[in-house]
Each structure stands twice: as C-alpha cells, then as structure tokens.
Symmetry: D3
Subunit: 250 residues, 6 copies
Amino acid sequence: MILHLSTWPEIEAQLRRSRTIVIPIGSTEQHGPTGLLGTDWLCPEIIAHRAQASCAGILVGPTFNIGMAQHHLGFPGTISLRPSTMILALRDWVASLSLHGFEKIYFLNGHGGNIPTIEAAFSEIYAEASYVRHRAGLALILRNWWQLPGVEALARRQFPRGHGSHAEPSEIAVTQAVYPDSIKIAECKPRIAPTGPIRDAVDFRARHPDGRMGSNPLQATAGHGEELIALAAEGLAAEVERLAAATGRG
Amino acid sequence: MILHLSTWPEIEAQLRRSRTIVIPIGSTEQHGPTGLLGTDWLCPEIIAHRAQASCAGILVGPTFNIGMAQHHLGFPGTISLRPSTMILALRDWVASLSLHGFEKIYFLNGHGGNIPTIEAAFSEIYAEASYVRHRAGLALILRNWWQLPGVEALARRQFPRGHGSHAEPSEIAVTQAVYPDSIKIAECKPRIAPTGPIRDAVDFRARHPDGRMGSNPLQATAGHGEELIALAAEGLAAEVERLAAATGRG
Amino acid sequence: MILHLSTWPEIEAQLRRSRTIVIPIGSTEQHGPTGLLGTDWLCPEIIAHRAQASCAGILVGPTFNIGMAQHHLGFPGTISLRPSTMILALRDWVASLSLHGFEKIYFLNGHGGNIPTIEAAFSEIYAEASYVRHRAGLALILRNWWQLPGVEALARRQFPRGHGSHAEPSEIAVTQAVYPDSIKIAECKPRIAPTGPIRDAVDFRARHPDGRMGSNPLQATAGHGEELIALAAEGLAAEVERLAAATGRG
Amino acid sequence: MILHLSTWPEIEAQLRRSRTIVIPIGSTEQHGPTGLLGTDWLCPEIIAHRAQASCAGILVGPTFNIGMAQHHLGFPGTISLRPSTMILALRDWVASLSLHGFEKIYFLNGHGGNIPTIEAAFSEIYAEASYVRHRAGLALILRNWWQLPGVEALARRQFPRGHGSHAEPSEIAVTQAVYPDSIKIAECKPRIAPTGPIRDAVDFRARHPDGRMGSNPLQATAGHGEELIALAAEGLAAEVERLAAATGRG
Amino acid sequence: MILHLSTWPEIEAQLRRSRTIVIPIGSTEQHGPTGLLGTDWLCPEIIAHRAQASCAGILVGPTFNIGMAQHHLGFPGTISLRPSTMILALRDWVASLSLHGFEKIYFLNGHGGNIPTIEAAFSEIYAEASYVRHRAGLALILRNWWQLPGVEALARRQFPRGHGSHAEPSEIAVTQAVYPDSIKIAECKPRIAPTGPIRDAVDFRARHPDGRMGSNPLQATAGHGEELIALAAEGLAAEVERLAAATGRG
Amino acid sequence: MILHLSTWPEIEAQLRRSRTIVIPIGSTEQHGPTGLLGTDWLCPEIIAHRAQASCAGILVGPTFNIGMAQHHLGFPGTISLRPSTMILALRDWVASLSLHGFEKIYFLNGHGGNIPTIEAAFSEIYAEASYVRHRAGLALILRNWWQLPGVEALARRQFPRGHGSHAEPSEIAVTQAVYPDSIKIAECKPRIAPTGPIRDAVDFRARHPDGRMGSNPLQATAGHGEELIALAAEGLAAEVERLAAATGRG
C-alpha cells in the first residue's frame, strides 16, 4: 500500500490494522560517471515499493528525496539540505505521522551521509518529550537497505573487487533493473577510484575527481540489481511485519 | 531530461545549453473521499515529465513532495511542513541549484496552500543578496499548473458545476490518467462540498467533514485527465522554452 | 479606541465587549521621488484610526511598521525584515493578543509585498495547534486597505491612467491628506514608470531607477486622499463590526 | 527630519551630511491603572521628534514599538516579543540601515526590560563581523531617555517619593504632555506599589496586582512632562550632534 | 557537593533537601599579556568549589565555560558563542535542571560581557511560561562574583590604581592562587591600558592592542587572590544558604 | 599545553608551531548507581590532559562538558543539549578556532550519544563552505577515546564479562584513578544490566531502571583506570603528533 496513491479514508482504515509505516529516504547527489543522481533515493524507493507489492500489510510513504549531501555539491546536479534543515523537515514529517497514530516509523535509507543527521533528528524529536517527562510514544527506526539481511554479503559476492563506498556497482545495479532506459555508459579512470576523508565539497572533488569513492561501477548489470532488489525486499517485508506485530513499540 | 535519471556529467553538459530547470512542487494531503493523498505533487510531476518527454531541452528536477498543508492535518495521511521549515528547505534547494549555474528556477506548483510560503521563500533567498547589495543572479518563478495557458478554462468546460477549490475533479482526473490502478470509488455527500475560511486543522475538519471544498470529484475521468495533461504539458514546454531563450534572466 | 493610548484595565473592559482587534501593518520603504518612506504603514494607520474615531467599539493596536521590503533595499531609507523574522514577530504579536482573549485579529495591510509573509505567518501560527489537534481558537484575517469595498474603484476613477502598482497616486494622496507639511515635489521621468518582475534589490533598482512601478504619483492631491480615507474608514468600520458580531469566529 | 515622512532622495541627501540616525525603541505593555500601554515607546518617540524639530540635522527613524515585555503579559494589552525574535528584528533593522551607509545608530530606549536584549542584539550583529575578522563599521548605541543629562535628577526632584521603577510618574507625565486627551484617572492602592524580582508573567502579577512597581503615578501632570521633554530633547540633540561630528565612529 | 562528581541517586537525595543549584559561568577569552584565557570561568568555578567544600548543603553544577566574547575574537585563543547560541544553550541547561526539580538556579558569573545574554536567556525561558499563563516555577539568578558582599571593595583596596575593567589584577590574582604553575610574566605597556567602547573584534583590538582595558594586571599576586577567594566563597555560601532556606522561590 | 591556562600571546606563538588542537567533549549524564555524572567528559579530559603533559607540542582546549543526553533526562543530574543547540555551539567553537588559524580540530569524545550530533555539526560547518564553493580549510576529526589504539581490547581483557554499553566499568575506572575521593559504593541489581533500544527518557528509564545498559560497573578499580589512561594518552599523543605533522590537512 502506497500512501500517496491512497485516500485518507484508506489510511484511516489501515491505521486500525497497523501503526507502522516505511519511509524511503535518500539523497540527490552525483554518483560518478555512470550513476544516476537519484540513485540514493531510487534504491530504497524501489525496494520498499517491491516489498509492499508482495505484502499487503505494508504501508510505504512518500520518498524523502533530498538529503545531506554537502560534500557532493562540487558536482552538477547534487541538491543538498543542511543538517539543520533536514532535522526540521524530519521533525515535521514525524509530527504529522505521529498525529495520525503512526507509532513505528521505519526509515529505509539509501545514503550513508544521511545517517548522522537522521539520528540527530530522532534525538531532537525524542528530546521534546524527554524535557517534559512525556512518553514520546514513538519508535523511530533507521535502516540502511544494504544492511537488510544478506544484502551486503550478496553485493560482495557479486562484486568482490571495487565495490567501494560511493557510486558502488550494487546501488547502480538496482537502478538499472528498474530504469533500463537510463543505463549510462562512460569511462571510469582509474578503474577503481581513490578513497579518503569526507570534508567540504571543494576538498572532496579534489580527492575524487569523477565522484567515485573506491568503486568500479562499470561492473553493474540489471541482473545483479534484480537479485539485490528481490533479496532486500524480502528482508524488508519480513522485518516490517515483525515490527508491526511486536507488542508495544518493540 | 530528468535530473535524477541523469549523471552529473550529463547535467554539466546540459548547463552549457541552458540555465533553466523545472521543479515540480506540491503537497501530500487529503483530497476527499476519492482523491489520492499525493494528488498535489503527482499533478505537476506528471505534467513536467510529459513536457520534457516531448521537448528534449527541458530539464526536470526531483519533485518537492511535502508542502504546507497544516490545515489538512486533521485527515490521516496528510504530511505537512511548517512554513518556516519549507522556507529553509527551498533555500537549500535553490542554493544547490544556483551553485551549479542554474539561473532560472521554475517551480511548477500543484497546491494553492503552498503559494504564500513559496513566495516568502523567494523573498528570503533574494534578501540575502539584497542586504549586501549583490545581484542574486536568479529568476525564481512560481507557476501553478492550473494557470498554464488554457488549462483553467478547459477544466471549467469539463466540469461546469462543482469544480470547487479542493479535491477538484480536474486534479483527480490528471492522476486517474496516469495511475489507472489507483482510481477510487466512494460516496460524496453532499454532492458538492461546503466552502469556508482556512484556519487550523480542527476548524477545517469541522467545516469540511470529508475534506472536499466546494467540489464534486466524482465527475473526474481519466479521459478528462489526459486532455488536461496534454494541454498543460504543451503550455509548460512553450513557456519554459521561451524562458530559457530570453536573454538575461527574463 | 487605540490600544497604546489605553490602560490595561480599559483593555480588560473592552475584552468583555469584543474579542476583535485591528492591527495596521505596512512597511517602511521607498515610494518613488515624492512618496513618503512610511506610506505603506501610514495609510492603514490613518484609515484604522479614522474608523475607530467614528465607531466607539473598534479597538486598534499599535502599527506594525517594518515589513517585508527586501526588493526596495537598493533605495536609501528602506528598512526591511526578512520573511523569517517577520513570521516570528507576527507569531509573538498574535501569541500576546490571543493570551489576553482576542480571537479575531484583523490585519489592515498597506503593502502588497507583505501578503505572502503574513499568510505564511498565519499558517505557521495555526500549525502549532494543528500538529497537536488543538483548536487554535483564532481567526487571523488579512485585509489590504485598497480592497475595502469601493476603494479600488474610487482610486481608478480618480486616477484612470498611471495608477500603477508601487508609489501609486492613491496611497500618496492618503498621506497628503493627513501630513500636509510633508507633501513633496519632485520630477518623475518618465511620467509613467516601467513595470517588471520583482527579484532582489539590485535587479529592482536597475529596472525601476526612481523606485516607481507603473505609476504617475504626481497626480495625487490631499483631496483625493481625503475621499479615499473616508470611504476606506467607513468600509473598515462596517466590516469590523460585522466580524465582531459574528458568532463563533466567523 | 523624520525618516518615514521623507522620500528616499531626501535620505540619500541627508546621508551625504550625516551617517547618524536615532531610532526610538520601547514596548507596548501595561503601565498600571493610569499609564498608557504605549508609554514606553511614546516617551522616546516624543523626545526624539521634539529634538529633531529644533535641530535640523537630526534624523529620526520609525519607532520600534513592541519590545521585550514577557513579564507584563499577565495584563491585557501587553504585546511582547521573545528576546530571540527581537534580536533578529534588530539585526534586520541594522542591516538595512547599515546598507544605506548609516554608521552610528543610536537607539533611544524607553523600557528597562529591553536593555539586555538590545545589548545582546548588538553583540549578535558585531559577532558576524568578528568571526570573519571584518570591521563592522558600525557604532551601535543604546541610550535610555531617563539617563540623558539631568533627566533623572529632574524626575527625582519632581517626584521625591514614589517614583519607583515601573509606571513611574515621570514617564506618565511625558505622555500626558503630548496626549492630553488620554490622561486617565483611577485609584492606586496602596499609594506606593510593592517591589520585587522580575520573573514570569504569572509570578509578576501575583507580586504586583495592579502592575505598578514601587511607584505612585498619580503625581504625574502634563506640566511635569513638558519639563522632562524639554530637558531630554535638548540633551538628546546635543548628544547626537556631538556623535555625528565625531571623526570615525566615536 | 559537586554535581559531576556525584551519582544520580546522590542528586536525587540532595533534591529532597534543597531545590537550589549553583552554576559557575564565564568565558574563554584573552586576558591581556599575563591573564589566562580561562580566567573568567576559572574564577567562579574556584569560588563555587571553595564554597561547597566548606558548606555541605551547596550543590555546584558543571561550569559553563564558553560565553559571549565576540569582541575578544581578535586575540588567539578566544572562543565565543553568539548570543543567540548561548540563549539556546542556557535554555537547554535550565530545562534539564528544572525537569529534575531544581527551582532556584543561581549562575555565578565571571564575565561582564555575559550579562546581557544571560538576562535575555532568562527572559526567553520565562516567556515560554508567560505566553501560556503558566507559572514557570523557577527563580533564575545572575550574580557576578565580584559583586558578592565586600569583594569589590576588597579589590579596590588591594589595587587602588589600575584595576580597570578587563584583565583586572583581582581576577588574575584569583587564578594565581589556585594555578601557581600557570603564573605568567610579561611586560605591559603602557602600565595602565586604555579604555573605550566595546564593538566588534577588529575595532576592539585596534583600541586595546594587548587586550587589557584600563588595568595593570602586574600587581596581582596569589596572596591577593587567596583573600578574594576566601571572602567571595564565604559570601556565596551565606547567600546560597539564605536562598535555599527562603520559602517559595524567594 | 592547556589553552585555558595559557595567555593569548602563548597561543599565538603555539600557532606558529602547529595548527592542531584537541577538544575533549562529553556529556553530563547519569552513569548508573556508582558512575559519576561527569564521567563522559571527565574521561576525555583526563586522557587529553595526560597526553599534553607528556608531549609538549599538544594543545588541549576547554572541555565541552554538556552533550546530547536526552535519553538520560529521566535521571536526576543529567543535563542535555538538544542536537540543534549542540550543532550551533560546535559551529561557534569551530568558527572561533578557525579564525585564529587552527586547521585540524580533533574532538576527543567520551559519549557515544554525541556521535551523530557531532558528525551532523561537522557537515553543517563544511556546508557553509560547500554552498559557495569555498575551501573550508578545515579538518574536523571525531575520535572516541575508547577507540584509540588498543584501548577497547584492554578494556575487554580487564572486564571480559559485563562491560556493556553504558556505565561501563572501564570509563568508571578512569574517573576512579583521578578522583579517588569520589569513588562510590552502591548495589547493582541485577549484576549485569539489561540492554535495549534508545528512545525518549521515559522509555529509557522504564527499560533501564538504574541507568546501566548491559554493564556491571562494580568491577571497576582505580588500577584498571590508570592502565587505560596511560594507554589512551600514549595513543592520543602519537595520533595527534602524526596529524600535526601531516602536510595539508591530512
């Protein structure tokens, strides 16, 4: 069930069955010479939509498609929120969902750079309750899609060399499976990109001239992607069903 | 051309041809018994994607899918930003795009309730330049899709009675044309909903028990929607091409 | 009755009679070669004070005299708030008034550029209630003085050509009627000023070298002003009395 | 010269003569049974306008008429900004004035409760320059009208007993001199009000049931007020002329 | 009793005895050629820790060690918060302490430049209660250590000339008494430093080339410091005991 | 070298030798029945001060002693910043240090709950540069003291069972080594505390009634602490020296 393709009476009915919702969250940022700018939100969106298609009880909300990508701003097309802005936006999303009765809000994340800001946002939200000794009545969950059961292991088997940590063949493969018309061809030199610390955007581009970090994305195929999607969607569905079934807030 | 399905080198190349980008912007909010919660961002997204499909030079960015919908929070599924949050988010979007060289940022809007906040955000962004006597170098444009040439007139012809001002048959028709599997059937009583002032969410729901304002959305059909999309997309393409061709920032 | 010329026991007594207050709101900004910098707050202040003088039941608060005028900052004397600052200030004004029991707060506005920010502020204020499903118990009303019954028509009759949209003869006439010692004489070339989009201050001054937008303010006389004040004050008084008399919050 | 009764070319001309401006600043807050709610901004406005009337070189800006009065919110009619809001508003005022070339901004204050917030605002403004090792190029000056040369001594002579620290006979006398139609008559019991610490509004009203702090305002007369205005206006004019004449920023 | 050297059950027990806590607060900023950068927080920390050592009932919290020192940023080692940041930090400290039941929070301050910001923060905190007509239930107290009974008089006796207003011999003496290994030797020319207004950091350093304001700190000795500490600690202990014993919130 | 026990000329001289500074950062929060409320800032402060004592070139700044501890607010004595406040405070610290020429700012952290907020703050700081394509010229480094070389392994050898993840015997041992007068004795039941997710403060206290998470802190001794301090200080000194020696910003 997809929230934005539902009516409010349908969501009202769904809330009588489950207090759990999945929010795909990612980033619009450069992904090297061949990766799509939307890779980091397309991946969790693809996986979450696949999971709900096979599992009627899962509700998926709109995708949070602009994240914390300040270090990629040196590459055209990247759009980033400041951490402080993203914290406020997440606060408003959660306040809205919580008002309707959602108690378990599960963010399926596609961008490593979002993690600290999302976790800080969770603390900001909980703190409002903590300062006044109220029970927040919320379980806010952050889950990276590549850490769903078995997914990282599969990616490492698929790409034993040059998986890297940005513009990875696994995430590119996921988008190729669903957007075959947008598969890009480009050279990548060196084949495996350099690694290094993450600081500001000028520093980042100087260290990573084509945007990749330690990866060789040319290995990606739609077939790899389909395998990853299937496994991740299955894992997500199982995890969300367990969460929804847990008494209390798990 | 769709930004999130492009690579950064493709956007870099596009920027050598045009400094213009279209951002669909809307809201996730109740749209009465039969309208999708995503109606207000699906409509501008549908129209913008249609326009770029027929006009190679148009670049469309990711959809800003959560807007200012505080008055709809009394209905399950609505997700709203505060105006202050939305202003900060738009500031960050524009700062990112401007950094890459975009000079004409055209927001195609699907939600009337967004208008003041988007305009306030534009002023907030311009003010940063104005306080230090810099030239912002930006044309920020807000355009409601229903005000593209001929669109409102077509909708009035299609739905001479009960068009109303929220959960209108025209916007619902647009989503029906593209998401036929999500066409909803429900009763609407009274056939034409009441109107009234817009204040807080409790007040709104008391005045508009099923969420509609002055509309009879049951008149919508996918056929109506297809007509509206075609006309709006054509108008958008023409307008954006003129904008891109204008010297200076128009 | 003017709040700042009253004591707190007088306001306490007034609150037992009426929950309505009028707040003149405007801007301090350039108004072309002959218009006063205070024009946009002087006009609503003049009209509101006139209305209360003839109608004992109307309470007028202090004038909000600095508004959103970032685009006029290229001209000496303009003082502007950022939209985000103005939203916070309005939030504090309304919180103060609401605490005392005012339920209908009627902003009589003198500056078109304030409109989006004031409306965004209203939504920001209502949202605090909406996120927690409280009834705000407030009717926040924005009314431009030139849209009071008959006023715009009168101005168009008075100035059939060159009324324009900034530094208009009508608003200048209103100030001339009350501040005859401050009537200014200057040349205006061209007689009718150019129009154009509103962006940042440098851009604005380049398009509108003497500050006017589409207007010929030299037509203004104190006589015109007196006619406008009388009509607007009468309309305001009638409107506020109706509002105060309405059951609920209208 | 009064800014809001001037045109932008007049201010441009004035800036060639002087980089100094006076801003009356106060508060709208209860002033006991007989004091006007506007007392704290009317006093500095009255004095500043008097000073400029007799001294052509002095420029007076619009009055900042809502200040930091949270502790008076227990009394109807009080309107207060939060300190954080007031800091932002002052930042925007100063940014606007500084942009035009004003270098010495002299706030003539009428409300003791404003002092910390105004001083914090000055530091906030200076800090923007300090963090980047720029010269702010600004002298921000806070002056309480009762501390102008001789004024406090005169008030103590006029009212040797029961001057107190809020709703004082001296400030009420100043308003009586200029607003004779708004002189109020009421009982004050006890004749001299109690004193105590200033905390939140509920605490304040419990300590000061009629709003006065240590004062007997019934002693005020318009004659006292006229004496105070004359002395304060003379002192202000002398001080501002010295300031304007000082090389550098004094 | 020192909070950070206690366990939570010990604080819980202490709260049954007293609702009062002392927070040393200061600044990390240049103190001339011989003064320690930590002088302004070391002094109140030293005095508060001495007081609690001799008076079992006094609880001292962690030291707020970075304050508002924007004007000293021209000198290496100064670390400053903006006033707006410091207000938020104090709000969070007070919210935490208030939640546990502390009702009298006594800030022992070591930096004059902190005073407006601390007082503005108190108003900000109280305002949250005032806007909703709640009783804050808090007494927030600001006390400068040099204004404890007899301390300023002692300092003036110890240093009849060249005490000044920054990098004073008295405060330096206090640190010398407790940190004898950190006594510094340097020349100070002129012997007594100049005075002047406080604005931004570039302006400040131009007026005060070695950082001192009106002082000759070379007069300081550990002996002087020990006298000051003993007197101040005694005064603090007496004052805090009286405060704690007062019924209500004093 | 300790910044707050140095003068500004000493820091100026130090900056000619090294652009690196160490900032201990932690939290004031409950640490179970026997752990000090200051444990999380005392540990990095102890280790950093030990390292600088043996290695003349290392500069240590003041300790950031209140962190993000909202989940511990259910226990008396805990003082927490909101993440948003902590981000602003860190921004101001870094702006101050960067202004003086520090380029490598190394935060030695003592509290796991601080990690997301510190990392979000780093991104917030870098973003200011990234949005305008400036080089930030900063390396911001976050290092948890327990992850210094060999430290975690030593702790696991010292406490093979019941180390846990909050109120751990290792951190308590570190404080015992330096504050022997503050060693606390209390019962801990059950011997090894439960574990669970971290949400708001009410939820946390319900899951962890005495504040511990998975730990048996009664195993701690000052001897264990001394071993840990020695190893951590040695590792820190080596790491900071390498960092300072690296060309560029490492």
